[in-house]
Every structure is written in structure tokens, then in C-alpha cells.
């Protein structure tokens, strides 16, 4: 994968490993170099009419970490992601990315800044092949104009080849070579999720927002997905913010966890801290009954 190394700007920031992390990916964070705050969410409130979706939420995301947002149904997790990438505009609060503060995020600007996301309900082009779907993720980086592209003239052709090569590296990375030319609609759900991730990776993001990447998957598909998320995080140093329902997954792969309930933040910390937080236990993990 040497030629993919351009994917993350923060290549090589990880310190050499100690002996402990040899067998597999479990001990994430044991010796990972987590950087400064890259994304800072401050006092966000969002309401739809009388419904308060988010109330005064603040948390930060550090560079190279895996940050999870958890909470019961309707807790406001997806709304939070939608605020970050500009789908919703919060009524109050601000979001800072790499030191720049915005009162609302603009979707296009967010993408240009290097924040990519995947969707809970898969917003893929069902009739298009896997390659073409991932290629759409390169859209922002294609410089030649529509006219040149349509005619495949000189520079447009060369550019297309470069982007295609990049896409092929993603296909290799996600191990979907066998499905490269299959229309996405024909693939099983777990693989569609992988294509969705592939398209987000095609943007060469600095921050990757994953909205329930493991939802609806079987155990094996979940394990695969976990491995890909961790590989992205470790190989490219990409910061990952993910929403997830599966507690096992969250506790295993995240460095820090934010817990939301009814639009409020009720916990924030390492998986262990969150697991032992009384309020979290009663609200989300459930009391023994």
C-alpha cells in the first residue's frame, strides 16, 4: 500500500510500536500518538420547531483518534453529525475545525476542508458500478472541466487515469476487487457499506464521520468493518468520528466516547470511564432488570 500513503497528510506521525501491540488490532491507542484538538464542538443547540434535538452539546475530537458518539434511538447522534458537516445549521453554538471557528458549517466547504462522511442509510448510486461510485468521491479533486472530460482530451485523460489508480488502491485496501464492476445495488448490504466507506476515503479526508457503519451487519461483517476502520485510522492517521449502537464495537475500537441522551451530553471519556459512569449505565446500558 505504499502508494496510498499520500492519502493522509499526517503520515508517519505514529511512534514505533512497543512489543505489546503485536498480535492484532485490539490494543488501539496503547501506543498511538494522539495529537491536538482538530475539531471542537462548543455549546451546540439544535431544535426543529418545539422539538429540541440537541441541547448545549460540547465535545472535542483530537487528531488521529477514534471518537465514538453513542446514545439510544433519538438521542441526537445523527443530528450531531449533520451539524458538523453542514446538513443542519444549529441555532446556537459554534464548531471549530483546525482553529477556524464557524457558527454554521457549509457542506461544500466542509468537504473541501477534508471532512468526509458515510451515511446510515447508504446514499450510493445503486445502478452504478463500485468503481464509479468510489470515483464520485474524487469529484472535488478533479481539475479538468466538463468539456475536456466528456471528450477525454489530453490532460483530462491523464487525470482520469490518476484518479482511477487512486480508486484502485482503495478497492485493494477494502478488498472488494471481486466486485469492482458490479452495480452497487446487486451487492449485499455489508459490501455496500464498504463501498460507502470507500467513497468517503476517496476524498482523502482528514476527518471521517461514520454514521452507524456496522448497523444491520452480521458478526463477520462487523469484524471486517472494524478492521477497515482501524486500518484507516492507523495506516493513514485519519481521525474517525463514529456513531455506533453495538457496545462491543464501540468499547473495542474507540479511544474516547461521548454519550448523548435526549439531546443532552451525559458522559464523555475513555470507554472504561463511560462504562463505569452511573448516569450512562442507567440511561443507556440499562439497569439490571
Amino acid at each position: 500500500m505504499s502508494s496510498t500513503s499520500g492519502a493522509g497528510p499526517s503520515q508517519g506521525v505514529r511512534t514505533p510500536a512497543g512489543g505489546s501491540e503485536l498480535h492484532g488490532v485490539k490494543s488501539v491507542g496503547a501506543n498511538k500518538h494522539i495529537g491536538d484538538v482538530i475539531l471542537d464542538v462548543k455549546n451546540i443547540s439544535l431544535g426543529f420547531g418545539g422539538v429540541k434535538a440537541l441541547t448545549d452539546i460540547s465535545f472535542d475530537v483530537r487528531e488521529h483518534e477514534v471518537r465514538a458518539i453513542i446514545g439510544p434511538n433519538g438521542a441526537g447522534k445523527s443530528s450531531m453529525l449533520n451539524c458538523i458537516n453542514g446538513v443542519y445549521t444549529p441555532q446556537q453554538g459554534s464548531i471549530s475545525f483546525r482553529g477556524k471557528t464557524f457558527s454554521h458549517m457549509d457542506s461544500h466547504a466542509v468537504a473541501v476542508m477534508g471532512i468526509a462522511r458515510t451515511f446510515q442509510n447508504l446514499a450510493l448510486f445503486k445502478g452504478m458500478s463500485v468503481i464509479d461510485n468510489i470515483m464520485t468521491g474524487r469529484n472535488l479533486r478533479i481539475k479538468s472541466n466538463l468539456f475536456l472530460q466528456a471528450l477525454r482530451i489530453g490532460p483530462a485523460q491523464r487525470e482520469e487515469e490518476q484518479h482511477r489508480e487512486f480508486v484502485e488502491h482503495i478497492i485493494d485496501f477494502l478488498e472488494i476487487q471481486a466486485h469492482r464492476k458490479t452495480p452497487v445495488g446487486q451487492l449485499p448490504y455489508g459490501l455496500q457499506k464498504r463501498v460507502d466507506l470507500g467513497r468517503a476515503l476517496a476524498m482523502e479526508p482528514q476527518v471521517l464521520l461514520l454514521d452507524e457503519p456496522m448497523a444491520g451487519m452480521n458478526v463477520e461483517e462487523k469484524q471486517d468493518m472494524c478492521r477497515f476502520v482501524l486500518d484507516v485510522n492507523q495506516e493513514f492517521g485519519t481521525t474517525v468520528v463514529l456513531i455506533e449502537h453495538d457496545m462491543g464495537v464501540v468499547m473495542d475500537i474507540s479511544d474516547r466516547v461521548v454519550v448523548l441522551d435526549y439531546g443532552m451530553k451525559i458522559g464523555d471519556g475513555t470507554p472504561d470511564e463511560v462504562r463505569n459512569n452511573e448516569e450512562v449505565i442507567s440511561a443507556y446500558l440499562g439497569t439490571g432488570h
Binding site: R14, A17, H23, E235
Partner: protein, 648 residues
């Protein structure tokens, strides 16, 4: 002329440097490696390994899927006079311990993280394993084990060394003699530890050449390397014959893309075990079921033409003009596109071996114009013992002895082989060697069989499993359980069979139906059923199975040797035989003795003449829980036929 593997490589590199030696699909493109490139790669690897301390006669393991660098490493190891040991890439870590320690291995080539993890896991048990080289660095960035190194780094070191020692490779290669050990293959012993089969350059290359001459293979063949490199067959087809003939070996992109890659490459020389051919046929049939009426009818019509005419045409026998025309039309409309879809448009020679192939399956491929043949051989014989000539392919034989091979049938029916391709011996195991290799050079195959009237070898069973009927009408007749089981298993409705008869007066079998095939059959007949156990005991299903058994009996009755093995009674088991319950081996072979003990009431009922028997069995579910299944099984008699003496 006797030669060695590295010398063949250098010859190709000198004589046809720009021609393609190997291709690998990567990033969606077939990347070609010329003979000259390959020679450079091998030189750098050899120099790197020499510098790292790999010595003559030392062993090095290679573990991974088919990749140019894996084969280049084998060549580099051989160039230094050391011995490569390919291991199965899907072997569990503990299974690798014995070979590594047995051969005192210090050096290993591992394809990727998966294989590296495996080797690191057993490092404590194999303390001498000092150098591990990995090809694909993905996921290995943070590994900091001593002696773990990327092949890229090894190549860089080797390149520097090669620049200072220009003649190093040449002089190393010139010191290797054809009778030196070339490679070692571990065979999975059913009992005890695996045994290392030692082959010399000459034994492997002699057989590779014999096979190539037999089928007139040239340097323009295309081969797809998709079976495990640790298997001798793969080694012969994609390594020994590759170097002997100088053809192109293509490495698929990944295990999942093999069928796509097959279509793209269009191999001319192809090998697959029967299950692969079966899988391909099934996928075609399923797609045909979903096709439109017109296409389906056309397919059925022309397939019936193919069935009638194809094999005869393939064997080069005369065929009526009308049939020829019809077949040509079918070739244009159905067989040609079908071959293309299977990736077999260009196949000139295809082989299957390893287990018995069903006659219908075999003739299907021959009828659509694919020259599918069978061969006989094993790890110990460097594969080629018997091969079927182009016009004499049959489902029930394995061909005629190929050049250099002598065959003798021992008194107990065992096939003995003498050939230049025989193993040098088992590694550090003179007792086992003495058991199979007699001082006068005969190798005991432990297969029972005979040469038929046309000089073709016919395999019946393993020698130790062949028994005799005792008492009754067929007293003293030969009984070959696997032969009977296979004949029954060729029916799509039957999944597993266990046959008994040794030391008894008649043959009885226990059958597992194929729940998909029979379930489908039942649905088409509006036959409701609740699950396997229920379906298995339906009278209609018993009738269906009975017809299969009686067809086999009719077939056996004309067999001069095995007419006495006709099945008298049968039952359909209430549960599927399962490796988790110890009834099958991990490679899905029935464990006859264990099953006889576990189901002794059923065996007693079969031989005791009962018509039904209650049984309750403990079963283990996949999640580790246990439960029990009980049922009253019906036992039925099958019609047997008076043996027809061969019309002579």
C-alpha cells in the same frame, strides 16, 4: 537432459529475456514480469538471503497465496542450494510447528500480516525461527519483532550485494546438481505427524517434462495459479512445468476473484479438483434456471445433442453428418458462449484428479468441447504416474502409465509404481520411508486397483479399506466401500454414504440426503416437510433413494470384480453427518469405524433384518451447545442383480 530449477530460469532469462514469465493482477491491471525481470528479482532475493545467513542444504518455509514473489523466493532458495518448504496458507498456526521444527527452519517467507501473525504466535515453540520476511506490509507497520523484515528491505540489501558480486548467482547455481534436494512437501497424515516428502530437482523436473511431452505443452501455454502452492499438484503445474516449458503463469488478484480472472486469462492448460468443476456446473445450471424460456429451451435442446454427440466427437470417433451439423450449430449458439463464460474457451488440456469424478459431470465438460481428462499420482510420485490420452478419456479410469513409469499390482491388489519421479524419502523418517519404498525401487501407493483390458489403470479404494464379503451368496467377493459410496454420491440427491460389508454376508449402507437437492425436489412435488429429519423419512424420499441404490446395483452387477458389493439394504440417517460430531474428518471424509460404533444399533438393525429402528443422538451445535435428535428410521431392502459375467 538433467537440469535444475535455477538453471532453467537462467536459460529462459538468457534466451527469451523480454517474454512474459508471470503475471499478477494488481490494482485492476495484469502486471507482467518478464524472464529477465524475474531473474533479477531472484538474484536480489538470493543475495539478500545469502547475506542474511541462509546456507546450503538448509530449509526455508514459504507460506502464502500464489504471488510472483513467493515463487521467486522458492527459486532464490534453490539457487543457494537450500530447500524451500511450501506450507498451506490456510493451515492453523499449531499445524505449522511440526514442519518448522522437524526441518529446523530458521528462515520464513510470509505473504502478509495473517501469515506473519501465525508465525509469531508459534515463535516460542520454534525458537530457532529467526528471520521472517513479509511481502505485503499492510497492517505490519507497528510490528517490532526481532528478525521481522519486509521483502522490500531484503531486496534492497540483496541489490547492494549483487552490485558488488556480479557473478554470485551464476556461481551458486552452477554448484547445484540435478540430484540435490529441490523441495520438500509435507503431506497431511491422517494419523500422527505429517511427513516431509523429499524431492530432488531431477525427480520433479523429470515428471514435469514427462507430463509436458505427453500433452505436447509449449512455451505459449497460459496457466492460472489458484490452488495452494504447498500442494504438489500446484507446484508441478505452476512451477516445475512452468520452468520446464517456459509458459506464462498468472496469479489471480485474490481468492474471491478467481472466476473473473479465469475468464480474463483464458488458460490453455487447466487443472482443478472435481469439486471445482462441480461448483462451476452448478452455477451455470442455476443461472440457466433463471433464464428466459427461449434461452432455456435452446440450452436444453443443444445440451441433449451435446450429450449424445459430444463425447464421441471428442474421442475422434465417426459421427453421422446430421449430428455433426447439429453439433456445429450448438457450438455456435450454446457451447462456445458457455465455454467462454466458464473461462475455458482456450483450454487445450484440462485435468482433474484427487478424488473420483461423477460420470455425468465428467461427460458434461467433454460434451461441450472441453478436453477434460484424468490423471493419477500423489505427492510421493511427483504427480504424473498415469494420464489419459486425448482420445481415451473415461470417467472411471485414471489413464495409462506415462513415460518412464512401471506399474505392478501386488497380490493384495495394491498398486506399486516405479518411476524417476519417486520421492527420495520421507525427511528424517527412515521407518516410514521403508514402509512405502522397497529396496528394489517400488513405491507402495496404498491404493487398490487394476489395469483394465485397454491398459488403463482403474482405482478401486484404499488398500486398507478393501474387504471381503463373508458368508451368504457372495462369499469371498471383494468389497470396496469407497467405490460403492462414490457411485451413490454421484447422484445429486445423495450427499454422504457410509457402506458396510467387510466380514459380513451382504452390503448395507447408511445415507445422508442432500437437503438442498431433495428439498427442491420435494417442493416441486408439493411435498411438505419440516426439516432434515422429517424430509429424510418421507416414503417418497425413500422411493427416490431406492431407485438410486438399484441403479448402482445394476451398474455393479456387470463389474467383474465388484459384483458382490451390491447394496442389499439401506436407511436414510436422521441427521447430517458432521465434522463437529466427529463423524467426518475435517476434509469431509466419512469416518466409517467411528460411525459404526456411534450408530451400532442402526448397523445391528440393518443386518438383523429389522424394518425400523428408533435412535436418539446427541448433537453439537455450532455455538457449542448440545442437543439431541431422535427418530424412528425405516430400513428398506433394495433389489440386487445376478452378476453378469463379462461377455468374453
Amino acid at each position: 537432459m538433467q537440469t535444475t530449477f535455477p538453471r532453467l530460469l537462467l536459460n529462459h532469462a538468457a534466451q527469451r529475456p523480454t517474454e512474459t514469465a508471470m503475471r499478477e493482477k494488481e490494482y485492476g491491471i495484469w502486471q507482467a514480469l518478464s524472464w529477465a525481470d524475474l531473474a533479477v528479482l531472484v538474484e536480489q532475493l538470493a543475495c539478500g538471503l545469502h547475506q542474511a545467513g541462509l546456507r546450503r542444504d538448509e530449509h526455508m518455509i514459504v507460506i502464502g497465496a500464489n504471488r510472483p514473489r513467493l515463487y521467486a523466493t522458492m527459486l532464490a532458495v534453490q539457487s543457494l542450494g537450500a530447500v524451500p518448504i511450501p506450507l498451506y496458507q490456510d493451515a492453523a498456526a499449531p499445524e505449522c510447528v511440526f514442519p518448522i521444527n522437524n526441518a529446523d527452519v530458521r528462515f520464513a517467507f510470509a505473504e502478509d500480516q495473517e501469515q506473519v501473525d501465525k508465525l509469531l504466535e508459534i515463535r516460542e515453540q520454534c525458537p530457532q525461527l529467526s528471520n521472517i520476511y513479509f511481502d505485503d506490509p499492510r497492517g505490519l507497520r507497528n510490528y517490532d519483532e526481532p528478525g521481522l523484515m519486509a521483502v522490500d528491505d531484503l531486496l534492497a540489501a540483496g541489490k547492494a550485494f549483487a552490485a558488488q558480486h556480479q557473478e554470485f548467482l551464476q556461481s551458486e547455481v552452477s554448484r547445484i546438481k540435478p540430484d540435490d534436494v529441490a523441495a520438500m512437501f509435507f503431506t497431511s497424515g491422517t494419523t500422527g505427524n505429517p511427513k516431509g516428502v523429499v524431492h530432488t530437482h531431477n525427480s520433479l523436473l523429470n515428471r514435469a517434462k514427462a507430463g509436458a511431452d505427453f500433452d505436447k505443452l509449449t512455451h505459449s501455454e497460459e496457466v492460472l495459479a489458484y490452488l495452494p502452492p504447498a500442494w504438489i499438484g500446484q507446484n508441478i503445474f505452476s512451477y516445475a512445468q512452468w520452468l520446464a516449458c517456459g509458459y506464462v503463469v498468472n496469479c489471480p488478484e485474490s481468492a474471491a476473484t478467481v472466476t473473473i480472472d479465469l475468464k480474463e486469462v483464458g488458460p490453455t492448460y487447466y487443472f482443478a479438483p472435481p469439486r471445482v468443476f462441480e461448483g462451476l456446473l452448478t452455477s451455470v445450471m442455476i443461472r440457466m434456471e433463471d433464464a428466459g424460456t427461449l434461452k432455456r429451451n435452446m440450452f436444453q435442446f443443444f445440451m441433449s445433442v451435446a450429450k449424445r454427440v459430444g463425447p464421441t466427437l471428442m474421442d475422434g470417433k465417426p459421427v453421422a453428418l446430421a449430428d455433426r451439423v447439429l453439433y456445429a450449430l450448438g457450438n455456435f449458439m450454446v457451447y462456445g458462449p458457455l465455454r467462454n463464460n466458464l473461462g475455458m474457451s482456450r483450454v487445450r488440456v484440462a485435468y482433474t484428479a484427487g478424488e473420483a469424478i461423477g460420470p455425468d459431470l465428467f461427460s458434461f465438460y467433454r460434451s461441450i468441447g472441453i478436453n477434460l481428462k484424468q490423471l493419477y499420482g500423489s505427492t510421493e510420485t511427483a504427480v504424473f504416474v498415469c494420464l489419459q490420452p486425448d482420445n481415451e478419456a473415461r470417467a472411471d479410469t485414471v489413464g495409462v502409465p506415462c513415460s518412464g513409469v512401471e506399474i505392478k499390482v501386488a497380490d493384495n491388489g495394491e498398486i506399486l509404481v516405479k518411476s524417476p519421479g519417486l520421492l527420495k524419502g520421507y525427511f528424517k523418517n527412515p521407518e516410514a520411508t521403508a514402509e512405502v519404498l522397497t529396496p528394489d525401487g517400488w513405491y507402495h501407493t496404498s491404493d487398490a486397483g487394476f489395469l483394465d483390458a485397454h491398459g488403463h489403470l482403474k482405482i478401486i479404494d484404499r488398500v486398507k479399506d478393501v474387504g471381503r464379503i463373508k458368508g451368504g451368496a457372495n462369499d469371498g467377493a471383494m468389497f470396496a466401500p469407497k467405490y460403492v459410496e462414490n457411485k451413490l454420491k454421484f447422484f445429486p440427491h445423495i450427499k454422504e454414504v457410509v457402506a458396510y460389508g467387510d466380514g459380513r454376508e451382504k452390503v448395507c449402507v447408511m445415507i445422508n440426503i442432500d437437503v438442498d437437492a431433495v428439498g427442491n425436489w420435494a417442493e416441486r412435488r408439493n411435498l411438505p416437510y419440516a426439516g432434515y429429519t422429517d424430509l429424510a423419512q418421507k416414503p417418497e424420499v425413500y422411493q427416490l433413494i431406492k431407485e438410486c441404490v438399484e441403479k448402482v446395483n445394476a451398474d455393479l452387477s456387470v463389474d467383474t470384480l465388484l459384483a458382490g458389493s451390491q447394496v442389499s439394504r439401506f436407511l436414510v440417517l436422521h441427521k447430517e453427518l458432521d465434522a463437529d460430531d466427529g463423524e467426518l474428518t475435517r476434509t469431509n471424509k466419512v469416518r466409517r469405524g467411528f460411525i459404526a460404533e456411534k450408530y451400532d444399533v442402526l448397523v445391528d438393525a440393518l443386518y438383523g433384518g429389522k424394518t425400523s429402528q428408533f435412535i436418539e443422538t446427541q448433537v453439537k451445535f455450532e455455538d457449542g451447545r448440545t442437543g439431541s435428535i431422535s427418530a424412528t428410521l425405516k430400513i428398506e431392502d433394495a433389489k440386487t442383480f445376478t452378476p453378469v459375467k463379462a461377455a468374453a
